[in-house]
Amino acid sequence: MAAYGDPRLSLFGDPSRRAIFELLARHPWSVGELAKQLPITRPAVSQHLRVLKDGGLVFSRSEGTRRVYQIDPAGLGALRAYLDRIWDQALGAYQQAAEAAP
């Protein structure tokens, strides 16, 4: 599970990353095309895409000479990320309750 509370590992914790994700949610784009639409550099876009890809929310494919990024259309990565967060918190709450209970 992702370490709870660690902003580097949180998929939507960064506003730029969230903006990239929302653009991809509407249309597939390459790194350069994303950088043109946002006030961030190409290397920063690449970095955010790597995080989103590792989190299972986006994937890339070749389109001729371009590398295009798009979201996972089934949204399964996001579902998993959501549940992962829930269980992380829930287990923490459970541990406290189990130790505090009479």
Binding site: R18, H27, F59, I71, P73, A74, L79
Partner: protein
């Protein structure tokens, strides 16, 4: 990525300073005392989250308005070592009674000492939850999501 036929399981674990019987009891019978209140699917605020303590038991929430929303069923009830339950909330954020669409949550309790229990959880078969056709129908030409899936994204984002 291209193969969405399986989603990796979610694994989690914690160690509690409690004997195994108590660890199992708090997880199950006292489920409502620890489950985070904000995690629920019903429209109304949640009054109580209930895990019925038997095989075939319901796992559900009761809202402050008396409404009930099912989350899943108990498949295996094996105190103090094992619990197997389903989570059957689909991509439309609704309970799907079809057992073929059910994800599974297995919780294993292992005594590490008289006052120490390891609790391990695996949430698997998530790919069964998603009704692929319904989702694809909800996706626009540009590859966007149905609004139901945005619920997941917003929920994750709002906790950051």
């Amino acid at each position: 990525m291209g193969d969405t036929s399986t989603i990796p399981a979610i694994n989690g674990a914690t160690t509690v300073r409690a004997p195994i019987e108590k660890a199992f009891r708090v997880f199950t019978t006292s489920f409502n005392t620890w489950w985070p209140r904000e995690f629920h699917i019903g429209q109304a605020e949640m009054a109580e989250a209930i895990l019925e303590p038997r095989e075939g038991g319901r796992w559900y929430e009761r809202g402050v308005d008396g409404s009930e929303c099912d989350w899943g069923r108990v498949l295996a009830w094996e105190p103090p070592r094992r619990l197997l339950i389903t989570w059957q909330i689909n991509g439309s954020w609704q309970y799907d009674p079809d057992p073929l669409h059910a994800s599974e949550i297995e919780v294993r309790f292992t005594a590490e000492g008289p006052e120490r229990t390891r609790v391990e959880l695996e949430h698997r078969h998530l790919e069964r939850l998603v009704d692929g056709q319904a989702l694809r129908d909800g996706i626009g030409e540009g590859g966007g999501w149905s609004s139901n899936l945005e619920h997941f994204a917003k929920a994750v984002a709002s906790q950051d």
